[in-house]
């Protein structure tokens, strides 16, 4: 269809709708009155549809369903909004993305929906599919929400286009997504070892784990030193991200584009530091320190091996005590901890994180009748979770219940960690803001055993105790200037979008083949050439223009 036809058709359709709408509610002013301020209820019930991202971690408690649950009832009661579920799909697999893409192509978007995919957001904005939220945000967002905008300016920028706000970002801070080294407490104890500070110590410990009897079952050598999974370079548990970081390679999936010390645009997986890193991995593999069958194991296989005590050390992300190491804690009471990555002599270590401009965003479709509803729900979320006391927090946030709200934001732990640290030193939560007090209670409660059986307490403790993952970033990675942030925001060059799948395959295949000794380490140079030729160089050139220094 040609544009004029669409416009004419659009006008024909719009005219009766507009007449009808104005006859019904008079003017926009009347509707604002009906919406009654940031937290007020609509006079007449309105209905809003949304899509639910289910995930392995999602839980429905009591008799809750996706359609009728604590959040839908709260939103109905407080705001007089009836939530309708447009569709549910698993976002930890490809299901949600596939479904959303189909819905987008069919032009059948729900009122409120989420994506983690910067490219989807960009395409929707560029094709006028999203509601401009700038004005309703100004009019309805509470001061508390607006204060987050200052702290998470980058995240808001990633949710904006030409200076207008088109989505609500989740407001998490990516600096916490650096790699760490995770080790089971009992294995360190059984082998009388200390956590490793250098790569040499790491290899020695892996050797001890692989040849000795760290699990105490009386059999030497039925365990492995270091876990890897087949995806290697993706940000999940048992990746190589932490190990290559020691050699100055800030890896993070296929996201890490940055300017090197000379200001040239470059990419993590073609750094020269990869060569010694791969050589080391290869020697560890040949000596049997790495699980020999890692090429056939995905992350869930690692979880099994970790829980059944065949593996006790792996590089991984900050949320380990939430998942997957909560499993072995629940089963055997074994605690796993995050440690700073061991470093290699002669290299400045670099940890890679994504740009704060990308992350989960929640959007409203362009022709939604009540675009302000998302802001009101956001206000209610913030009010309920962060300012309404423990009972409300436990009911509406804990145990992954926050996922049932159509829009949610992270508790900004990163921001309040210094205050939590001071409180831990003092031994008192006095003067802490509400959400920081919660972290404090969980950390202290887990440490003194009073909350030992609470999943949330173990999860929070792992991230926020004095030596937890957050403090590793604050007190080690940041002072060492080791954090490298990708420049890749929501705009990506075509050369990249077309070739990223092939380029990822190239990288994973080359690295796997070098690690298991199918090809010599020198093959890395061939890989770099191939990578640059297969679209990598075009991408670097395009990014150089797209994100000027």
């Amino acid at each position: 269809m040609k544009w004029p036809t669409v416009v004419v058709l659009g006008l024909l359709l719009a005219v009766p709708v507009l007449t009808f709408a104005s006859g019904e509610t008079d003017t926009g002013a009347a509707r604002v009155a009906a919406a009654a301020g940031p937290l007020g209820a609509y006079e007449e019930p309105i209905s809003v549809s949304w899509s639910i991202q289910t995930a392995a971690a999602s839980k429905l408690l009591d008799d809750d369903t996706w359609e009728d649950n604590r959040w839908s009832r709260l939103i109905k009661e407080k705001l007089n909004i009836d939530l309708e579920v447009a569709f549910t799909a698993d976002s930890s697999t490809d299901a949600y993305r596939t479904k959303l893409n189909a819905v987008i192509a069919a032009g059948d978007l729900p009122d409120i929906f989420k994506t983690q995919d910067a490219n989807v957001f960009l395409q929707l904005v560029q094709n006028d599919q999203l509601a401009d939220l700038t004005d309703v945000y100004e009019a309805y967002a509470t001061d508390s929400i607006k204060s987050y905008q200052e702290r998470f300016a980058d995240a808001y920028e990633g949710a904006s286009f030409n200076g207008r706000l088109f989505a609500i970002p989740r407001m998490n801070d990516n600096f916490h997504n650096a790699p760490f080294l995770w080790i089971r407490d009992d294995w360190l104890e059984n082998t009388n070892s200390e956590p490793p500070n250098t790569i040499e110590e790491l290899v020695a410990l892996a050797e001890l784990f692989a040849t000795g009897d760290p699990d105490g079952n009386g059999i030497d050598g039925d365990t492995y030193g270091l876990a890897l999974n087949r995806d290697l370079i993706r940000q999940n548990h048992a990746s190589i991200l932490g190990l290559v970081a020691a050699f100055g390679v800030p890896g993070h999936g296929m996201n890490m584009f940055y300017r090197d010390d000379d200001g040239n645009m470059t990419f993590s997986w073609i750094q020269p530091g990869m060569k010694p890193a791969l050589a080391l991995l290869n020697s560890m593999y040949e000596r049997g320190l790495i699980n020999q069958e890692f090429t056939a194991k995905d992350e869930s296989a690692l979880v099994e091996d970790w829980t059944s005590a065949r593996i006790g050390m792996a590089y991984g992300s900050n949320w380990g005590t939430w998942y997957p190491y909560n499993n072995v804690y629940k089963r055997d009471g074994v605690i796993s901890r995050a440690y700073p990555i061991p470093t290699a002599a002669g290299y400045d270590y670099k940890v890679g994180i994504q740009s704060n401009r990308v992350g989960q965003v929640t959007m409203v479709r362009a022709d939604a009748q009540y675009p302000e509803a998302i802001i009101k729900i956001l206000n209610l979320y913030d009010e309920t979770v962060n300012f309404s006391g423990d009972d409300a927090f436990n009911r509406y946030w804990a145990d992954e219940q926050y996922r049932l709200s159509p829009v949610y934001i992270d508790i900004p732990n990163e921001v309040y960690q210094p205050e939590v640290n001071l409180a831990l030193e003092r031994g008192s939560a006095e003067g802490l803001p509400a959400f920081a007090r919660r972290s404090y209670q969980y950390v202290v409660g887990f440490a003194d055993g009073s909350l030992a059986d609470n999943d949330n307490a173990y999860g929070t403790w792992g991230q926020q105790n004095e030596n937890g993952s957050l403090n590793i970033v604050l007190h080690r990675y940041q002072p060492d200037n080791a954090v490298v942030q990708s420049i890749l925001a929501i705009e990506r060059p075509d050369a990249w979008l077309t070739n990223v799948s092939v380029l990822e395959t190239l990288a994973i295949t080359a690295f796997t083949e070098i690690i298991i000794g199918q090809r010599p380490v020198e093959y890395f140079d061939t890989f770099v050439e191939q990578w640059l030729r297969a679209g990598g160089q075009d991408t670097l050139d395009a990014l150089d223009e797209m994100y000027p220094e």
Partner: protein, 304 residues
């Protein structure tokens, strides 16, 4: 005006046509309708503009990009190699097994074997892959433990690029040969027992009977089944390979379907993956036409 005879004929067949309607409707909705989607292969498709939206037409650009990708030719080679081996094995194994089973005179054990080998056919590859990953594991797997007993070093069937395609072919045949066996057994029952009797009188032994009576007797079915399977020349078996492969065996195990999946679904490159799918359909169409003529010529089998 229809003659009386034509009218009676139509009246008699009318219920049959009515019964056909649901099937035709389904085929139109799910097979012919989506064919319009091949247009995507010639567009720079942006989902946000909608299927019927204002997409940019780019001609053959997607095909050029596709065939310029560094791993496309190995992928096509892998696909053909794996699919062809599966086709050959998928004829030889069930025929042999049906012949052997046919020699069993005890009806109960014959039925039992027939059912047992047919069972794996009903399990999905998601389940089968989990089982195979366990029993083929080099460290704890059943197969390697047995091989170890006779002094063979552990083999990493799913992690060694030179073993992976063969592993795919063998496991696939193992899973599917029960179905073929049933077809060939049915064909065997249609052979006139009088032929065997006269052969015995002429002094033919078992082997000669098989060679000169049984095989020629079911040759029509064998040719038909092989010729019809030609259309699968680019079907490497997505379910199976996707659940069992890993980057280390991409060099020999990555097939068109898995390649398209990673490209299309994981990266949302709909135009490129549609182009790849269209290419696959085109090649398959050629083979279907060829197989139709071959089936007509060698097995006298025609649809039209």
């Amino acid at each position: 005006m229809l003659s009386l005879r034509q009218r009676t004929k139509l009246l008699r067949e009318l219920p049959l046509y009515v019964m056909l309607i649901p099937a035709v409707v389904l085929v139109i909705i799910y097979s012919y309708g989506p064919m319009a989607g091949v247009a995507i292969a010639f567009q720079k498709f942006v989902p946000a503009r909608g299927f019927f939206g204002d997409q940019d037409w780019v001609g053959w650009a997607n095909f050029r990009t596709l065939f310029a990708m560094p791993n496309i030719w190995p992928v096509i080679r892998n696909t053909v190699l794996i699919a062809f081996s599966k086709m050959v094995g998928g004829v030889v194994v069930p025929v042999t097994f049906a012949l052997l089973l046919n020699e069993i005179t005890n009806i109960t054990s014959k039925r039992m074997f027939q059912t047992l080998v047919y069972l794996p056919n009903f399990l999905s590859w998601v389940i089968m892959a989990g089982i195979f990953i366990d029993i083929l594991s080099p460290s704890q797997g059943l197969v390697n433990t047995l091989l170890g007993k006779v002094g063979v070093e552990p083999l990493f069937f799913l992690g060694n690029p030179s073993l992976f395609p063969a592993t795919m072919v063998i496991t696939d045949i193992w899973k599917g040969f029960g179905f073929g066996t049933i077809i060939y057994l049915a064909a065997l029952t249609s052979i006139d027992p009088a032929l065997y009797e006269s052969a015995v009188i002429d002094g033919a032994n078992r082997w000669q009977q098989t060679l000169y009576i049984t095989l020629p007797g079911i040759m029509g079915i064998i040719v038909l089944m092989s010729v019809l399977s030609l259309a699968n020349i680019l079907n490497g078996g997505f379910d199976q390979i996707y659940n069992m492969y890993s980057p280390v065996v991409y060099s020999t195990g990555d097939i068109l379907d898995t390649f398209v999946y990673r490209l299309g679904i994981e990266q949302a490159q709909y135009s490129l993956s549609t182009a790849a799918g269209l290419f696959k359909s085109g090649v398959s169409l050629l083979f279907i036409v060829a197989s139709y003529h071959l089936a007509d010529r060698y097995a006298g089998y025609r649809v039209f």
